[in-house]
Amino acid sequence: MTSTLNQITLQHYLAVGGIMFVIGMIGFMTRRNLILMFLCTELMFQGVVINLVAFGAYHGNFAGQAFTIFVLVIAAAEASLALGLIVLLFRHKATLDADAWRELKG
């Protein structure tokens, strides 16, 4: 059992982070609901965070984790902004559908 666990290398963590990032990106691109699109951006953030922490553990210092705290703070601030914007957008169109804003083309 320990031998299989020791097979977990950096690449596995990076893969997880990458997969989470890609899932978030695909979700962002295909979702129509504004709040769910935002949720996917948060998911992208977390994918990046996992990568950062993995690199931190790999190099054996706290730089990755320190940077992660930065990212989480920024994610939180951005969350407030984004949700505020979504509320304002909802007030205009009474819908959370991103397609409602298609007329901003050209």
């Binding site: 962002f28 699109m37 007329e103 050209g106």
Partner: protein, 735 residues
């Protein structure tokens, strides 16, 4: 001659008229106005005085050295001087260099065509002094006349400013010590001619005439320019006699290098010398209105009459003759070129004379007469008799200016009319002008003892000596000249009195300040026709027209004077070396007409006198018969002239319409060029401008495409684009 004050300060001669022109130009419009003639009078007057003083000083410097050693005369006709005789001929010349104008290339290469140096330099010799006196002296008197003639014109200041500029250019032309100074003056006088012909620029005909003059001149100047460039390429200098002036036996300048024996020259130099005279003569034909580039001169009569007198009779048009006389050594060695000059001159003389026979506008008659007389001068220089050409230049300047200015007085009195069919018997109306014009006409027709007789006779004699055909053509032309001149005189001044009532529509209102009604008065009651300001110059010119010929001819005075010019000495020696070896006794180069009297032998002197008297008699006879014919057709029995014209109606119409040469040029040259121009214009408008439009359109198109594809307003689409963009960048960077 180098030490003369005038030579050391010769920069004044171009400078004073230039300053005068600037003063008149800058201050004339607002400040000087009707007094704008003062700067020009002072400037040109000062240099006229300087020129005459220089003339006297130069005459004083002339040597009368012993004739050089020559073979004893064995009774043949041959003028002596063997081909190998070195030049001992005395010359008088000086060079003054104000500053170095152009210096291009490495000075170590001076003398080769790797180093181009042009100095603002002036070369003085008897030829220069002669030309200067003609230009400045006659120029001054014409400016005096013009002040009276142009009085009351709007743009008075403009006229005098341009006149000053013209005198500046003309002095640069005749005084320049290299071909580039000559060309500077050449172009300058062309420009001033354009400006002055187009003086009445509101009149469309004047604008067209000005353009025509400039463009036709330009064709000649093109050949001239190429000639100068080739001369530099072949000989490495454009200076006439080098930086230190003429030294006998040295070969520093172009004119001396061209006269060196052909054996010492490179193939290129010999080739250039074959073509150079033809290129240079193109310029001379353009400037001096010879066939086929004469068409601008009659149209140039649109300009004010003083302009016609100064520029198109006395000075500018003689620049071509001066150039050939100056650059004698470039021409005389090339037999084909000399023949061309002589025959083109003769043809033009007869051709233009025949057109003048049926012209009714006073100034047009004199314009064609000028073309014809210039033809005489070219014949003179073309038959290796440059002294005769310059002699005729001087006398012609006097009487032609006189004739033009008199026409101006007539035009003023006739309220702008110049058509001789509308006026007659003016001797009652303007007696002083009548006598002055009669003097001018007698001089032009070549009646002894007036000026034109002596110079024309010399040319006819030299032409006959060279080729009897040429002699006959010139004699016929002399007859024609006498006829048309007196046709004009008899029609206008003699006979019953007829004056036009109405002013000519183009006549400019000088009379407005007299406060009376033009239209209801007979011209007889008009203001003084012959104001002093206009009469005095005419009287001076008339005196010249009477005595100048005899004074210069008698004792070979002008020949002696010009013969001490390095140009004439060089030309004579080259001609002698080139032709005497091949010619038989009768066709040896005549030293007299090069001014080299010392080279003649006794028997030649005697033979000359006899043939001269024969020619004088023949010329006089011809002139008198021309006058006689004019008398019978235009005074005694005027309707006979009209009947004769009806009889020969085809010929008469051809002459009247100038043989349709202008129309021919219009159809063959101008119209095709205009079509080509229109084609290029269309090409430019659609193709070239189209390309530019395309260059502006492509980004627009790109933007439009992007707008339609990428900016759909679809947020997820934007995100996808971002992701794709990053992917592409990463692929490019890491692969």
């Amino acid at each position: 001659m180098q030490d003369l004050w005038i030579v050391q300060h010769s920069y004044l001669i171009p400078l004073l008229p230039l300053i005068a022109a600037c003063i008149a130009g800058f201050f004339g419009a607002r400040i000087l106005k009707g007094q704008s003639h003062w700067p020009i009078w002072l400037g040109v007057g000062a240099i006229a005085v300087l020129s005459v003083a220089l003339l006297f000083q130069t005459v004083g410097l002339l040597g009368h050295g012993a004739p050089p050693v020559r073979n004893s005369d064995s009774g043949t006709h041959a003028p002596v001087a063997s081909a190998t005789e070195h030049s001992d001929a005395k010359t008088v010349s000086a060079v003054y260099r104000a500053f170095t104008w152009i210096a291009a290339g490495d000075p170590k290469n001076a003398g080769t065509n790797e180093y181009f140096e042009v100095a603002a330099g002036f070369f003085f010799d008897p030829l220069t002094v002669t030309m200067l006196c003609v230009v400045c002296g006659i120029g001054f008197f014409i400016t005096v006349f013009a002040a009276g003639y142009m009085k009351g014109e709007s743009g008075y200041w403009r006229f005098f400013a341009y006149l000053g500029l013209f005198i500046f250019s003309m002095t640069c032309l005749v005084m320049g010590d290299n071909l580039i100074m000559l060309y500077l003056g050449w172009e300058g006088v062309g420009l001033c001619s354009y400006l002055l012909i187009g003086y009445y620029y509101e009149k469309p005909a004047a604008r067209e005439a000005a353009k025509k003059a400039f463009l036709v001149n330009r064709i000649g100047d093109f050949g001239f320019g190429i000639g100068i460039m080739l001369a530099f390429a072949a000989f490495g200098t454009v200076s006439y006699f080098g930086a230190d002036g003429y030294t006998p036996g040295a070969a520093n300048g172009l004119l001396e290098l061209a006269a060196l024996p052909k054996m010492g020259m490179t193939e290129f130099q010999i080739q250039v010398l074959n073509w150079l005279p033809f290129l240079l003569m193109l310029g001379a034909f353009g400037k001096s209105a010879q066939f086929p580039l004469y068409v601008w001169l009659p149209d140039a009569m649109e300009g004010p009459t003083p302009v016609s007198a100064l520029i198109h009779a006395a000075t500018m048009v003689t620049a071509g003759v001066y150039m050939i006389a100056r650059c004698g050594t470039l021409f005389v060695g090339n037999e084909a070129a000399m023949i061309t000059v002589a025959f083109v001159g003769a043809f033009t003389a007869l051709f233009a004379g025949s057109i003048a026979l049926r012209q009714f506008d006073l100034k047009k008659v004199f314009a064609y007469s000028t073309v014809s007389q210039l033809g005489f001068m070219f014949v003179g220089v073309g038959v290796l008799a440059p002294v005769t050409g310059v002699f005729h230049l001087v006398t012609h300047a006097f009487f032609k200016a006189l004739l033009f200015l008199s026409s101006g007085v007539v035009m003023h009195a006739m309220l702008g009319h110049l058509d001789m069919r509308k006026m007659s018997g003016l001797k009652a109306v303007m007696p002083k002008t009548r006598w002055l014009m009669l003097i001018g006409c007698l001089a032009l027709a070549g009646v002894v003892p007036f000026a034109g007789f002596w110079s024309k006779d010399e040319i006819v004699a030299s032409a006959w000596h060279a080729s009897p055909l040429l002699g006959i053509v010139m004699l016929v032309t002399a007859f024609v000249t006498a006829y048309y001149t007196f046709r004009l005189y008899f029609r206008v001044f003699e006979g019953p009195k007829v004056v036009p009532d109405e002013p000519h529509p183009d006549h400019h209102g000088h009379g407005d300040d007299h406060g009376h009604d033009h239209h209801s008065h007979d011209a007889h009651h008009h203001h003084n026709h012959e104001p002093a300001l206009m009469m005095i110059p005419l009287i001076v010119l008339a005196i010249g027209a009477v005595i100048a010929g005899l004074a210069l001819w008698q004792g070979h005075r002008l020949g002696h004077f010009l013969g001490q010019s390095p140009s004439f000495v060089g030309a004579f020696e080259l001609a002698r070396d080139t032709y005497n070896a091949k010619a038989d006794g009768a066709h040896m180069v005549n030293p007299v007409v090069f001014g080299q009297q010392e080279y003649r032998s006794e028997s030649v002197v005697k033979a000359e006198h006899t043939s001269h008297y024969i020619f004088m008699a023949v010329s006089t006879l011809i002139a008198l018969s021309g006058i006689g014919l004019a008398y019978s057709l235009h005074l005694k029995d005027r309707p006979k002239a009209d009947r004769l014209a009806l009889l020969l109606t085809g010929v008469a119409r051809a002459m009247e319409n100038k043989y349709w040469v202008d129309e021919l040029y219009q159809a063959v040259i101008v119209e095709p060029l205009r079509r080509v121009g229109e084609i290029f214009f269309t090409l430019d408008k659609y193709f070239v401008d189209g390309l530019v439009w395309l260059a502006g359109f492509v980004p627009q198109l790109g933007g439009f495409v992007l707008k339609l594809t990428l900016q759909r307003g679809y947020v997820q689409g934007y995100a996808l684009s971002m992701a794709l963009g990053i992917a592409i960048i990463l692929l490019v960077v890491f692969l």
